[in-house]
């Protein structure tokens, strides 16, 4: 297990080092799909330059990273490439430690129907999952590009990976700290609070009932931990810069979406086309998408917090205001974890083709629009839309497959209708 992991890391690091040295690096870091206004390395450099001059980095309208990141790079600017490599490897490390255990499976084995043994994962399969996750994350072209472009998205991903690790290891304190860090970095991970809480509750064998006292006690504890760390981090940022400038500059920027540079998300085109006085209402409508699905998902998936976490990560990466391919890569790294769902997936082949073709068409249509001047923004947005619909269908496919598997686990593999013929499940 260790040897292949080391090999994967070596391959990944060599690949990135080679790309850093090649002429492709400049090209990749200019791509709008890879670097958003939030995470572009160019903007971090700009912020650093302002900081060195003794000016607040937020005084221009360019820099939108958090103060902690700028101080991190203030000390490590010489080793920026190394930082991104380490963050990628850190990701790998945390993913490989995550064992994605399913204790529940063993506990409740006797509840399952007798003929579903083949649906239950063997320890052997489980053993290889971390390796597969590492492969999927480190060698995913999206991750490689995002790392080569030095998009700070890689650092956000690392923080989220550590948060998942801490949660799965059952450390409520570290989990809350990393969740606070992730929230501080990009705001949207606040929705991961629900799955983390559900997982920790499950681990403590606390029943999720509104009437139970221990449930509320634990929830309050975790929320207090989370809020305290968030307050500490924000105050720390305040003391670093001695101003609150970063709040409107980072969170205001994320929420009100003033930068309409094209990206792979859904926001830019709508708000570029919209009359100014409607935009506040529609910003609310668009932003609510990220937070809206958390509650129904929490109700439906309260027994399966890890899957919930995966779905929520995917939702964030689809509906966030400045998505990049680095965000897509984060939830894609989870796909091997659900390899046991492959047989229930219906459209995985079509959807992966759609995603691949869209990824190829992004640069082509960008070229036609920006360089050749013959196409226009509609062409590019059409592909963005297709890409996001592909992602949404992929997630709903996984979600439905998960529900079906659960159904088969409890009701047996061979369903019969009342009249004895073989039945099948239909999603209405």
């Amino acid at each position: 297990m260790a040897a292949p992991l080391v090999l994967v890391v070596l391959v990944a690091v060599t690949l990135r080092a080679a790309l850093y040295r090649s002429s492709l690096a400049a090209f990749i870091s200019e791509r709008v799909e890879v670097a958003s206004p939030l995470s572009a390395w160019k903007r971090v450099v700009e912020g650093l330059a302002l900081l060195d001059l003794g000016v607040s980095p937020y005084s221009g309208a360019i820099f939108h990273e958090t103060p902690l990141i700028i101080y991190l790079f203030h000390f490590l600017i010489e080793y920026a490439e190394l930082v991104f490599m380490v963050s990628a490897s850190g990701n790998l490390w945390s993913f490989s430690l995550v064992q994605f255990k399913k204790q529940k499976l063993l506990i409740e084995l006797d509840k399952y129907a007798p003929d579903v043994a083949e649906l239950i994962r063997t320890p052997m399969e489980m053993h290889y999952i971390p390796l597969k996750v590492a492969l999927f994350y480190l060698l995913n072209p999206y991750t490689v590009m995002s790392c080569v472009a030095k998009s700070t998205c890689a650092i956000n991903n690392t923080v989220i990976a550590f948060f998942i690790l801490a949660t799965i290891k059952g450390s409520a304190f570290l989990s809350a700290v990393f969740l606070a860090l992730a929230t501080y970095q990009s705001l949207y991970p606040v929705t991961l609070f629900a799955p983390a809480l559900l997982y920790l509750l499950q681990r403590q064998f606390i029943p999720i009932k509104p009437k139970s006292k221990s449930f509320w006690l634990y929830t309050m504890q975790y929320a207090a931990l989370y809020l305290c760390s968030l307050v500490v981090i924000i105050c720390l940022s305040f003391f670093l810069l001695n101003s609150w400038d970063f709040i409107p500059s980072v969170y205001g920027f994320i929420l009100s979406v003033p930068d309409l540079t094209p990206n792979i998300g859904l926001f830019w085109y709508f708000f570029a086309e919209m009359f100014e006085h409607f935009s506040l209402f529609f910003v609310c409508v668009f932003q609510i998408n990220v937070f809206f699905y958390t509650i129904p998902l929490a109700v439906k998936l309260k027994e399966h917090p890890v899957f919930f976490m995966f779905v929520q990560l995917a939702i964030i990466s689809i509906f966030k205001s400045y998505p990049t391919v680095g965000d897509v890569a984060l939830y894609m790294a989870f796909l091997p974890v659900w390899s046991h769902l492959y047989r229930f997936l219906r459209n995985i082949f079509i959807l992966s083709c759609v995603l691949i073709v869209c990824s190829l068409l992004f640069p082509v249509l960008w070229h036609l629009w920006i360089y050749a001047g013959s196409a226009n923004s509609n062409f590019y947005y059409a592909i963005t839309l297709t890409f996001n619909i592909g992602q949404i269908l992929l997630i709903s496919d996984y979600f439905y497959a998960f529900l079906r598997r659960e159904y088969y686990l409890t009701h047996g593999l061979h369903l019969t209708r009342q009249d004895g013929t073989e039945a099948m499940l239909v999603l209405k």
């Binding site: 047989r343 082949f349 082509v364 050749a372």
Partner: protein, 639 residues
């Protein structure tokens, strides 16, 4: 969504696709070609119209009087050129200066990667001369270009003469709001490339030229003029630029409108438009024009000096004066008036030409086919591949030997394969037992993929890198060496060890070739879609030839027929056939030997275009299409 989630619907759909696969594929292919042929018909090709308000409603009155002066300049220029043995830089500078222009010259030099035999040049040195007419009504922020190539012999002297006469006349007018650049470029496209690079202060090719130059603001539009006779009978317009890029349709409309206003005959692709539209000969005529445009655009080669402007976001056309045996001749005054009118309308532009279409095909100068109409033709062709992919990737096929083309994803999860089919409700029909075969795994696909792409890389790199070695060992010139190496590598690619996978466990199985074919079809569909967006004609021509062979190829059955079909569909044969078709359409059919010579020339041209101007068809074909074709060849040789 119902279609995707409701198993009954899905099953019905997948059954339909599986049962009727071959008829559906044939139908879709025929529909694609039929759609293309129908594009020359009036309902699919509406009349062109001027979209740009600044050029549409305003009228101009042309008063250019200097026809005789143009001819005098032309005679002078021809004499000076003969004396100087090249472009008469000093004379041009003096004359332009005398007319009141700001004159600059730009020397440039370029060594070609290998000698260009058709134009007989290798180490090129030349000079561009240009004069700027400063606009009296604006601050030099925008400009227009009138360019004339200074070519070998007595060609194009009249064009230079007319340009100078126009400059003299334009200088006296007060209405100019955009600077006008009068450019004489030497060595046609090479000079143009050097000038454009220097003007925009970039260096994308290995052109050496002097840096600092006089500038005149952002160029809005350009017209390249070619004229070699004192009188003309008609004008021909060339629109296709580098990589098949086209100028905004409004510029073509503008040219057409002024030709009509002055009563000049104008042609496109050398074809005069017919007055009737509903007869069969008229249809055949516009189809020929359309096909010629598709062939020229697909070649990715600039059809005139304007072709390089398009890359810099400048709308440009080439206008050629033709002197044929027609009765009505037009003198320089009329020609000058036409150009004057075009420039005055361009002078009225408030913003860049952007209103009209950029993606179009022209079955005649007054009719156009827009992207929404021509894309379905390509879509139908790609649908064939998608249907084949869904057959290979989606469901069981009741083949003659009970063959199962399984879902690729099921193959990869072997442990689940048996029971999966029952659950995977898309094909419950496949519940019967799977013929157990050793699983090939993805490893068997690695050697073919690597070998094919290595062959593509060799095809791309070796001809130019190895020309020295080839000329040392074989009695050929360098240009010949390049072309012959290219052909040799291309043919040798077919003889590569395409059976390397057999050494691996499970290689040579049915699933192996199906997976490979699936991969090749996906690859082909993806690259053709990208190509069709960038250059519709190239994508369409490749799709029309490669799709049937790609869909039909398999290692069993009539292999000789399949092999012949596959060889016929290879890009090189497509090029050869394209050359014959082109000559046929231009009504000067080429014999076999001449066709072969043209083919060799086209290969050398393709390489040169890539190295000199960054044309993309050669790298695209060598690095993507050729390896993909080799993958299909691999499928054929699987057993």
């Amino acid at each position: 969504m119902g279609l995707l989630s409701d198993p009954h619907c899905r099953r019905a759909l997948s059954r339909l696709v599986v049962r009727l696969n071959t008829p559906l594929c044939v139908l879709s292919y025929v529909a694609g070609l039929g759609w293309f042929l129908a594009m020359a018909l009036p309902p699919l090709a509406p009349r062109t119209y001027m979209s740009e308000n600044a050029m549409g409603s305003t009228m101009v009155e042309e008063q250019f009087p200097h026809g005789e002066r143009a001819l005098a300049y032309a005679r002078d220029f021809a004499a000076q050129k003969k004396k100087a043995g090249g472009i008469p830089v000093a004379w041009l500078e003096k004359t332009m200066w005398g007319l009141g222009l700001e004159v600059y010259k730009q020397p440039f030099a370029r060594t070609l990667p290998f000698p260009d035999e058709s134009r007989e040049r290798y180490m090129v040195k030349g000079t561009n001369v240009y004069g700027i007419l400063r606009a009296p009504r604006a601050a030099s922020t925008e400009s227009l270009v009138l360019s004339v190539p200074c070519s070998e012999g007595t060609q194009n002297s009249q064009a230079v003469g007319l340009m100078l006469a126009l400059a003299a006349y334009f200088r006296g007018q007060i209405y100019w709001a955009k600077d006008i650049i009068f450019l004489v470029n030497e060595h046609d496209l090479l000079g143009m490339e050097a000038w454009l690079e220097a003007y925009h202060d970039v260096n994308v090719t290995e052109m050496q030229s002097s840096g600092t130059l006089g500038r005149a603001g952002a160029i809005q539009a350009a017209v390249a003029l070619e004229l070699s006779s004192d009188v003309v009978t008609s004008f021909d317009v060339a629109v296709e630029g580098l990589n098949g890029q086209l100028p905004n349709l409004d510029l073509v409309n503008l040219f057409h409108a002024f030709c009509q206003k002055n009563g000049l005959l104008c042609t496109i692709q050398g074809k005069l438009q017919r007055s009737d539209w509903d007869t069969l000969p008229a249809y055949a005529h516009s189809l020929q024009t359309l096909l010629l445009m598709v062939l020229k655009q697909g070649s990715g080669r600039p059809q005139g000096d304007h072709g390089l402007f398009l890359r810099y976001h400048i709308e440009a056309i080439t206008v050629r004066g033709i002197n044929s045996f027609r009765q009505y001749k037009y003198d320089m005054t009329t020609v000058g008036k036409t150009l004057e009118g075009m420039f005055r309308k361009l002078n009225n532009l408030l913003e860049r030409l952007h209103q009209s279409y950029f993606f179009y095909l022209l079955p005649s100068l007054s009719r156009f086919v827009s992207i929404g109409v021509y894309m379905p033709a390509f879509g139908f062709l790609i649908l064939v591949l998608v249907l084949k992919i869904s057959l290979l990737g989606g469901g069981p096929r009741p083949g003659p030997r009970g063959l199962h083309a399984l879902d690729l994803w099921m193959q990869l999860n072997k442990c689940e394969a048996a029971s999966a089919e029952r659950l995977w409700d898309g094909d419950q029909g496949a519940a019967h037992a799977v013929a157990e075969e050793p699983r090939p795994g993805l490893l068997a696909l690695v050697p073919p993929l690597l070998v094919c792409h290595a062959a593509g890389l060799a095809l791309y790199l070796l001809p130019v890198l190895g020309q020295r070695v080839a000329t040392q060992h074989f009695p050929v010139s360098e240009a010949e060496a390049v072309v012959l190496t290219l052909i040799a590598i291309y043919v040798a690619g077919m003889a590569l060890p395409h059976s390397a996978h057999r050494a691996l466990p499970g290689g040579g199985s049915d699933r192996g070739w199906m997976t490979l074919k699936l991969l090749a079809l996906l690859y082909l569909a993806a690259q053709l879609s990208c190509a069709a967006l960038l250059n519709f004609s190239l994508g369409f021509l490749l799709a029309a030839t490669m799709v049937p062979a790609a869909a039909a190829v398999r290692p069993t059955g009539p292999r000789l027929v399949l092999a012949a079909l596959l060889v016929l569909s290879t890009p090189a044969v497509t090029l050869l056939l394209g050359i014959f078709l082109h000559r046929e359409l231009e009504e000067r059919p080429a014999g076999l030997a001449e066709g072969w010579q043209l083919f060799l020339q086209a290969l050398a041209e393709g390489l040169l275009q890539h190295h000199l101007y960054g044309a993309l068809p050669f790298p695209f074909l060598a690095l993507l299409t050729y390896p993909c074709w080799l993958l299909l060849w691999n499928v054929l040789c699987w057993k």
